[in-house]
């Protein structure tokens, strides 16, 4: 695997390979010395043009568990505010000798531009580009689902027939897009729910069913319900009248939580707006796997960094 840019078109075998390698990486975390020497001497650059806490820390932890060196760049307080471009910034960092760039950028397609260019030689891992993709988030969600459903026997399994509801701000969500394509590849049935104004144009061409009524979805007893963050920083228009109205219609409140089947798991990619798309009780309930998602994120990112940074065939095989 040369780069990881998107889950759309990611072959099923490749996706399962990443999930299976992540299982081995998860085992490392349980050891007395949770560290592998695999990427010793390699350098990973976290290049973040957009704010992030968990993704940056997660990639940093993953790289360090594999003994890679990590350098971190965040656009705030950098030369980007002086007008430096993506090309110049990444070339400057690459000139310091790096093997992989973990890129977060507010422009959709930024990672693909960087990977397709001849600006740098390093492997590119997309850590979120605008409203387009966040592939490691999709992978860690698939991993979390697989673990919740199959436990220790999850290795090699796909998500055939698993019913997942993704709820809320689909329009601005790269998490939703990453999940839709990956989970569909793995055989899951995906239902998207949200206000009309927050469903993207062209959603009917996605491998999903779409609705606007959350209560109807809960009545259908999904295996998992994934609440998306309302991305107020990307909302430059009025998509719904009031936060209270949003919470009433599309939030996972205490009353809806009580109506969910006991074995339905509750997911959220974080950071949460407690009281808006998810109530505190739902977020902290035993069926919530939100903290598992964070822990699994480290395993997935270890697997991805291992797969893009090892092997002599990294130049030829692009994914």
């Amino acid at each position: 695997m040369r780069h990881l840019l998107t889950t759309e078109g990611l072959p099923r075998e490749q996706a399962l390979a990443i999930l299976d390698v992540a299982e081995d990486m998860a085992e490392v975390a349980t050891r007395a010395v949770p560290k592998l020497p695999t990427l010793r001497g390699r350098t990973v650059a976290n290049v973040f043009f957009e704010d992030s806490t968990r993704t940056r820390l997660s990639f940093e932890t993953a790289a360090k568990r594999l003994s890679a060196d990590v350098i971190t760049f965040s656009a705030k307080g950098s030369s980007v505010s002086k007008g430096e471009s993506l090309k110049d910034t990444t070339q400057t960092i690459a000139a310091m000798g790096i093997d992989a760039v973990v890129l977060r950028h507010s422009a959709s397609g930024a990672a693909e531009v960087l990977a397709a260019s001849d600006w740098i030689d390093a492997a590119v891992v997309n850590a979120g580009d605008g409203t387009h993709q966040h592939p490691t988030q999709g992978l860690l969600d698939a991993y979390t689902l697989r673990k919740a459903l199959h436990g220790d026997a999850s290795r090699g399994r796909d998500l055939d027939g698993v019913r997942v509801a993704i709820v809320g701000d689909i329009l601005h969500s790269r998490v939703a897009r990453s999940n839709v394509w990956l989970l569909a590849t793995l055989g899951a049935q995906i239902h998207l729910v949200g206000p009309r104004t927050l469903l993207p144009v062209g959603v009917e061409t996605w491998p999903v069913t779409v609705g606007t009524d959350l209560d109807e979805v809960i009545a259908q007893r999904p295996d998992a319900i994934m609440m998306l963050r309302v991305q107020q920083e990307r909302m430059h228009a009025a998509y719904f009248p009031h936060e209270r109205e949003y919470a009433n219609a599309w939030g996972l409140g205490d009353e809806r939580l009580a109506r969910l089947p006991a074995d339905t798991i509750v997911m959220h990619p974080g950071p949460m707006n407690r009281g808006l798309e998810i109530s505190a009780r739902a977020a902290d309930s035993p069926r919530s796997v939100i903290l598992d998602q964070v822990a699994n994120g480290v395993s997935i990112r270890m697997a991805v960094l291992y797969l893009v940074l090892s092997g002599s065939d990294t130049r030829e095989v692009a994914v």
Partner: protein, 181 residues
């Protein structure tokens, strides 16, 4: 070049039985023994030896698997390897005598990686090495304690170990120049 079979099923079985006795003899019994197979075929061999030990001295056939992929020094020279699971027995390996089991001992680099992996998992009292075939050409100061068969080979030759559990039959074959007809 046709492959020449050098060990048949009965030869492999006899070699593993002898190795099992040798392990018990050198350990003065079956206490505090842990067999760790190196995937893929080392795990199969370790399980067979463990079954022998269990028969000779009940309770002594403690077995697990040890994946060394993440500790290899040649990751940048080969296509990406997919790791296999590491499974340690419930009692761990601290203070135990660990017997590493692999199918073929060649450069010794796999065993070097295995020793590093063990160091991250615990502190055994001693580590031994059992292999079905030792084909020579060591690149590191490593030797096996228990050997099924010493097979002098040329570097250009290839050794194929086939086992019932993974390949449908038991056989060790040698292929390449010098293998004769």
């Amino acid at each position: 070049m046709p492959a020449r079979t050098v060990l048949q099923q009965a030869d492999i079985q006899r070699a593993l039985t002898r190795i099992s006795h040798e392990i018990l003899e050198s350990n003065r019994g079956g206490s505090d023994l842990v067999l760790l197979g190196i995937p893929t075929r080392g795990v199969v061999l370790a399980e067979r030896i463990a079954a022998n030990l269990e028969r000779f001295e009940p309770g002594s056939g403690v077995v697990g698997s040890l994946d060394v992929t993440m500790y290899r020094d040649d990751l940048a020279r080969h296509p990406t390897r997919t790791p296999s699971p590491t499974r340690l027995p419930a009692g761990g390996i601290d203070g135990k005598t660990v017997v590493l089991v692999d199918d073929v001992l060649y450069s010794g680099r796999t065993i070097r990686a295995a020793l590093d992996a063990i160091g991250d998992l615990g502190r055994p009292r001693a580590v031994r090495l059992a292999v079905l075939v030792d084909r020579g050409h060591r690149e590191l100061p490593i030797r096996a304690d228990f050997v099924g068969k010493n097979l002098p080979t040329a570097v250009a030759e290839r050794i194929y170990v086939r086992l019932g559990e993974t390949d449908g039959e038991d056989a060790v074959a040698i292929e390449g120049e010098g293998s004769g007809s």
